[in-house]
Structure formats: C-alpha cells, structure tokens
Amino acid sequence: MVDATPILEVKDLKKHFPVRKGLLRRTVGQVHAVDGISFSIGEGETLGLVGESGCGKSTAGRAVLRLIEPTAGSVRMAGQDITHLPKKALRPYRRQMQIVFQDPFSSLNPRMTVGDIVGEPLFVHGLAKARERREQVAALFERVGLRPAQMANYPHQFSGGQRQRIGIARALALGPKLIVGDEPVSALDVSIQAQVINLLQDLQRERRLSYLFISHNLAVVEHISHRIAVMYLGRIVEYADTRSIFVRPQHPYTEALLSAVPVPDPTVKRQKRILEGDVPSPVNPPAGCHFHTRCPYAKAHCKVEAPPLREIAPGHHVSCHLR
C-alpha cells in the first residue's frame, strides 16, 4: 500500500525558532525544534510520530501543514511541492490536509454552535450553500457518533470525548486525504480513548485516509500505526514498520523508550533499562549524536559526529553509529 506516489512526502524538514534577548531583541540562538527530518505516508496509511516532550513532534506536524512556515526542506502533497506555494495557491491543498488537536476544550470556539464549527470549513471554502451545508454537517455528526439534533448546542455542553468527535467531524468536512492528529486521544479517559481510536480506524478504512499520528503514548501508537518514526531532540532516530520497531528496536533510545512503558499485565516481569538524566535543551543540543549524553553505549566518536539515518534492513532506518 505504500509508495506509488505517497500522499505526503517530507524531506529534510527543518524548523528553527530564534531565541531573542535584550532590549533590541537580538537573536542570540536558535531552537532547533525540527532539525532535518524525512518521512512519507502512503494512501490509507498511518505513520506514528513518537517522542517525549520537546522532541519536536508537534512542530513537525504543524510545519507539514504549513500552519507554521518551515525553515528549510520540502513538503509534498500527492507529488506537488507545497513548501513555497503562496497562500492562494495553497488553498486547494489545505482542503486535503486537516488537523485534530489534543485539547478538545481549547480547540473549539466556545461562542459558536458545534454545527457551525463543523460547517465552517465548508463555508470558508465556499463549498456548499446553507441548506446543503446543514445536511452535510448532519451526516458528519451521524458518522462520528453524535446526534444531528445536537448541532445547535455549544461546545461546553459536550463531554471531552464528544468534543473530540466534533473536532474529527470538522477535520472530515472537506474530505481530506491526510489528517494530522496531534495527541488526539491523550486528554481523554481510557474508556473514551478506545471509542475515539476505533472511530479513527473505521474512518481510515472507509475513506482511505492517511494519518500522521503524533503521540507520546506508545501503546496507542503501536495499536494504530502501520509505520513509526521515533524522534529525539528534533531528529528521527529510528523509522520502520510497527512490528520491527516493537519487536526488534535498533536505536538505544527506542529500546529505552519501549522498556520504560508500563505494561498493564502484572505477570510480565521485564528488565527495565532506565535512562539516566533528562532530555537536553534543544537550544544547544549536544554535538554529534544528540542522544550520546544519555546513551549507555556511547563511544568517543558519537560525541563528535552525528550519525546519518541509514537503512539497515529493508524499510528499517536507524541513526546510530553502533548499528
């Protein structure tokens, strides 16, 4: 199902934020939030983007959609380079890519009815007259498991799970090909989380949707993704299909990340590889391999030279000198 022309193809994407200080707001440094990442997503495929806070996964998701402008690199939607398209030319591509946010409380306008919220993309893109729009919104409501009668209500009248359904309906309104989910189930209770994950998977099968699923929750990512990219301090350290990542992790960071996940089964006794220390600041990331400060296997030249992302087995990419 992969390749042909991927829905999304990202090459050497970088996003640096200037650090300004002092009276003249002079730039004194750069936050290397995303520091040259490449990946692709095929039709009907889910790529899980995992990593800990500050690794740049959310920034990557936003830069892909050009919600923030990338510093360098390229983003292709269905073969077309959209990295430098002016606003107007970008619009048709915007219809094909949507985002679902983590926080269902702050991502919905509290002063709009939820029917208007879901219908707004149709209105903005001038795709349907008022009456048609109501019908389409009603259909979307049904599809995501809400009652069309609730269209006149306001966001505060809904529970967290229902609000996330509203966010999904809004993302679906324009019939996108790609949905970026930025921690879409992280704020939900587990019983509700399952409902939303199932909905996302059903929608994917029905509409051949592609997902860029950004999350720190490895259990959820394992469940939903076909392939996974693991990020650490702005770079992808490992990139492979889900099975390879979980069965034969190659990068020491992936290994540690997996061993740190608490498994909900008391009969499983695992040897934990507990990492020392914290993630270094992305303002002055360590030289060489970003991970060497916490890596139990680090050698001298890991501190000097950054390892490239190499394909060590078909489809399995790792950036580590020791593999």
Binding site: E52, S53, G161, V190, Q193, E222, S259, I274
Partner: protein, 329 residues
C-alpha cells in the same frame, strides 16, 4: 500485617447549585506498612478526592467530609483539631501531587522548602535542617544536591521537581505517603525513573503508599493491591495479580479491554484490524446518578435488578471484592 492506615466509611460531599455531589461515597480501605495500594479510576471517580480527604485538604466550602474515620497510629484524623492536624500533615502522612510546578513554592529555594518541614516537625535548627535537606536530595538521586538545594523550582526540569517533591514528602519519614498521579505529567523515560525511585524508597522507609492513578500499566508494575472506583464508590478490590487475571466487575473488565496492550512488544501476535473494546457512553454526572448501580447505563450485563437496586459490595472470592449482581455469570 497490621494496617498502618485504616479508612472507614469515608464520605466527602460537595454542596453545589446542581445539588449534593457525593464525590466520595462510603469508601473503606486499609494499607499496611511497606504496602502499595493503588486507587484507579477515570476522571471524576473520586480517587483524588479520597486522597485529599485523608489529608483533610478538601476545600470547605463547597466540600465537606460528612462521615467516616481515618485512623492513623491509634487516632482518628477526622476528629482531631486543625492545629493537631497540621502536626500530622507532612510528618506522619504526606502527599505528592501530579504537577510539581504548581505544588512547589516558586519563590523559595528547594532546600528551604524541604527544610521547612524538618524545622516544623523535627525541632531542627536551620542549619541542621538544610543539611538534612541536601541529604534528602541526594537520596532521591538529584545530582549535585548541595547546588540544587540553592536553586528555585523553575530552574529544575519536571523530573527533578518531582524528585524534590518526593524528597520533601519523605523528609520526616512519614508512615503514609499519598501519591496523586505522581508521574502523569512526566515523559515515559522520566516516569520510569520516578516509579523506580518510589518503589526503592518505600522499601527503605517502610511507608504505606497510596498510589492514585488512571494508568493501568503503572498499577500493574507498582501496586500490591488495587481498588477500582467508579462514580464515588469502590466497585472492585483485589490483589494486583487476581485483579488483572480475572476482573470481576464489568467496569474493571471493560477498562482492561479498552486499552491497547502492546502485544507486539510482548512477543504476541496481533491482527492489524483488531478493534479496541469500547465502554459505551460516559460517566454519569455525580449529581444525577441512576437509582441502581451507577455503571448500569454502560454495562453489557445490566438488567432490571441492576437498574433498580444498588449492588452490595461483597467478598466474591477470598480477598477479591466487587459490587455487582452478576459476577458469577
């Protein structure tokens, strides 16, 4: 094992304009020294309110502890005066919170915050207390503890702040440690460090730990015994092994089936198309609970009896309690 802490029929109600909200409704439990009791449940189930009730930190008004007893060292903490309670809090029973940034004082150095408890409860002078504070920071494995003791909370990372919280909580060697979602705000690799630390320090200090969490993975790896709460009440209680092997309450069973279980990592096969099992619906608002079992509207086994009458909480198997009419089926 004699229980270190014994909680009986605890009731904490909130008086709101929607009516009375029974956040904690008749909860009993006990914890022994060196034991970890996990209280699990989803938002609004009353687990955090139970923890705050033990500490007598319920905001009053609107909340009030309306019934029950919290027995620690032969005393009922709900009966003693506020002045006496202050001598107990942070000394015999202490608490760590989810968000260390909001529970630490931002304008006071870490060292002084830890020392405060020692000066208050252990009659130490400033110098002794500060020295002990540095020792505590070392114990929770903060590198360069003497240096860190002079720093402010914002200068520490999230994991470090949680370590400092733990150092503070354990400074007076409490009998009971209440940990309310201690790792929820942390990244997984940091979570592993903190859980590891709590387990290790518990062994050393022999404290009874009450771990409040929503994460079944954390429960499976750290708890000895588990209480599952739903809508302010206990619905199930057992040792961690039997609870995960054979949950008796449909809510517990539903929770366990609704989480992805990391099959691949555990060397099991998985079908790509597998769906998670959902628990339909949402938790009912606490001021409008159904007449019978609170879980009945979402329960696959519910019948007329469940909707009419609240199930009794009883010992279904040795050491395994549940509140359900249909545990045999």
């Amino acid at each position: 094992m004699t229980p270190q802490l014994q909680v009986e029929n605890l009731g904490t109600w909130f008086y709101t304009r929607h009516g009375i909200v029974k956040a904690v409704d008749g909860v009993d439990f006990h914890v022994a020294a060196g034991e970890t009791l996990a209280i699990v449940g989803e938002s609004g189930c009353g687990k955090s309110m139970t923890a705050l009730s033990l500490m007598r930190l319920i905001p009053d008004p609107p909340g009030r502890i309306v019934s029950g007893a919290v027995k620690l060292g032969g005393r009922d903490l709900l009966k003693i005066s506020e002045e006496e309670m202050r001598k107990v809090r942070g000394n015999e029973i202490s608490m760590i919170f989810q968000e260390p940034m909001t529970s630490l004082n931002p304008v006071m150095t870490i060292g002084k915050q830890i020392a405060e408890a020692l000066i208050l409860h252990r009659d130490m002078n400033r110098q002794q207390a500060l020295k002990r504070a540095v020792e505590m920071l070392d114990l929770v494995r903060i590198p360069e503890p003497a240096q860190r003791a002079r720093e402010y909370p914002h200068q520490l990372s999230g994991g470090m702040r949680q370590r400092a919280m733990i150092a503070m909580a354990l400074a007076c060697n409490p009998k009971v440690l209440v940990a309310d979602e201690p790792t929820t705000a942390l990244d997984v690799t940091i979570q592993a460090q903190i859980l590891d630390l709590i387990v290790e320090l518990q062994r050393e200090f022999k404290a009874a730990v009450i771990l409040i969490t929503h994460d079944l993975g954390v429960v499976a790896e750290t708890a000895h015994r588990v209480i599952v709460m739903y809508a302010g009440r206990k619905v199930e209680e057992a040792a961690v092994g039997p609870l995960f092997a054979k949950p008796l309450h449909p809510y517990t069973a539903g929770l366990m089936k609704s989480i992805p279980r990391l099959e691949l990592m555990r060397g099991e096969e998985r079908r790509q198309t597998e769906r998670l099992q959902e628990i339909p619906g949402i938790v009912p608002p606490l001021f409008a609970l159904p007449a019978g079992c609170a879980f009945a509207p979402r329960c696959p086994k519910a019948d007329d009896l469940c909707r009419r009458e609240r199930p009794t909480y009883e010992e279904k198997q040795s050491g395994h309690w549940a509140a359900c009419w249909h545990t045999d089926g």
